[in-house]
Amino acid sequence: MDELKRVILDYVKKEYLDDTDDRELAADTCLITGGIVDSFSMVSLKRFLERKYAIQIPDAEATPAAFDTVNSIADVVTRVQARSGAVGKVTAS
């Protein structure tokens, strides 16, 4: 698993799972359709990614479908980074 996916997965575990939650998460686990993250709470993940990678993810691209797995979220981040020319730029958070 690459670094970007690892960062996203770690955040999802910390932000959305309770300490007692024993569910195993992987890069292809369905987060929203699988009932792990509700679409309303997804906004904190979007904000985290925007701050960490100094990008702006347009709302039209932050759809529940695009944020359903770590893989698809990483695709969104990579695509937005490529467009903004900010690949590799990471901010402290």
Partner: protein, 418 residues
């Protein structure tokens, strides 16, 4: 007859959606009740079936006042004295003396500064955030808040964030993170409708005061019976006067008809009176409901007997279920969830309980989290010992059939899947 092509397409689309809901087992069916709301009701289900007299364990009639003769009589008098409807919104020509009187009485009961009536608490929640907050502010909500709060937050221009259910460390993190905003508002249910647990309002208020945030509580499943005199979760947690906004309903314990309110700091309620769209653009609460609600407040203000009976029923029902070997979510409110984890199992157990004369409903994802399917039982002050005894007999019989007595989550999931 000529039919436009788009109409056909749209109708087919919605027909497929309805079929998909049926196939997924998510199609909601109404059960027709041929009686006033109460501890025992006559139910036609499925449609066309003969009536069954069943014990009702799934209404929000917590204080048993929905069909109380004094409330019905007061509503009838209100109908005679103030008419059937107002044919107007409040601020044009829809405010009667009794609307203002009810707002004053709710203010006194809740221990706040002012109150504004809405057609429902759904409308109160839909209007309150948009009226008060803007883009430079933030709403921080518990992840298990009621759907009407989620909708209200979506209607508001302020960005929103969420914290893990009742996790005060996580809330503190969020409050720190949003110190750059103009105003912060923490939003929570007082009693959570699916789990029946109480918000840690004392801790929430302390954090809010430390990080300069307002607190908004939806106390719909608490007003009238939680706390020593039934004022609500803020009374139970010792923070009366320290909550900025309480939204609550007349549609549950307080007579159960309809109507809701925003109650709290005078300035905040004042802004809602000027700007909250569901208040501004929908009709006044009908006079008959206002008159009934005034009587309800008189009854609950006069004595805590009903609240005390409800508390005793809750303790007894929890003990009965636990003793029988059911997996019950811990809590103190009259919402007592019997955990079954598997959606199909929850529906089948509810169906079999109905056949045994007990009216309950199975809840499953997306109403509750995935793998957390349950039957939500709700106590009422109208329940007597014979209702609880009849209910536990049926629960034990059905529980034995499914082999779930004495089993916890792990064993039930092993047997039926999550």
């Amino acid at each position: 007859m000529t039919t436009l092509a788009y109409e056909v397409t749209a109708r087919e689309h919605y027909r497929h959606e309805l079929d998909a809901l049926r196939q997924a087992g998510l199609f909601k069916e109404e059960r027709f009740i041929h009686a006033p709301q109460g501890a025992e009701i006559d139910v036609e289900y499925p449609a066309g079936a003969p009536l069954r007299r069943v014990v009702n364990l799934c209404s929000n009639n917590y204080l048993g006042l929905s069909s109380h003769p004094d409330v019905v009589a007061a509503a009838r008098e209100g109908l005679e004295a103030r008419g059937y409807g107002m044919s107007s919104v409040r601020f044009i020509c829809g405010t009667q003396d009794i609307h203002r009187e009810l707002e004053r009485r709710l203010t006194d009961f809740l221990g706040t500064e002012d109150t504004l009536l809405f057609p429902s608490c759904m409308d109160a929640n839909a209007g309150v955030f948009e009226a008060l907050l803007g883009e430079q502010d933030v709403l921080i909500a518990d992840r298990l808040v009621h759907a009407s709060i989620v909708d209200g937050m979506r209607l508001c221009k302020a960005p929103h964030d969420t914290f893990k259910h009742s996790d005060m460390e996580h809330l503190e993190e969020k409050l720190k993170e949003h110190q750059d905003k103009r105003f912060r508002m923490v939003v929570t249910d007082g009693v959570f409708s699916m789990d029946g647990d109480l918000a840690k309002l004392d801790a929430i208020v302390s954090l809010a005061e430390r990080y300069n945030a307002m607190v908004c509580v939806d106390d719909s499943h608490a007003t009238g019976f939680i706390g020593r005199t039934g004022r609500g979760t803020h009374e139970e947690k010792g923070v009366v006067g320290r909550i900025d906004i309480i939204t609550t309903t007349l549609g549950k314990a307080l007579g159960g008809a309809s109507g809701g309110c925003v109650s709290g700091r005078a300035e905040l309620v004042g802004i809602c009176r000027q700007r909250a769209r569901p208040y501004l653009f929908s009709n006044s609460v009908a006079p008959v409901i206002v008159a009934g609600a005034l009587k309800v407040l008189e009854l609950v203000g006069r004595s805590t007997d009903r609240r005390d009976t409800l508390a005793a029923n809750t303790v007894r029902w929890r003990a009965m279920l636990a003793q029988a070997g059911f997996d019950v979510k811990p809590g103190e409110s009259p919402i007592v969830p019997v955990m079954l984890y598997n959606a199909k199992l929850a529906q089948e157990v509810a169906r079999d309980l109905f056949a045994e004369g007990i009216y309950v409903v199975g809840f499953f994802f997306p109403v509750v989290p995935q793998g957390q399917a349950r039957i939500r039982t709700q106590m009422s002050a109208a329940h007597g010992p014979r209702h609880l005894e009849r209910a536990i007999d049926a629960f034990v019989k059905v529980g034995r059939t499914y082999g779930i007595l004495g089993k916890g989550r792990k064993e039930i999931v092993q047997q039926y899947g999550a």
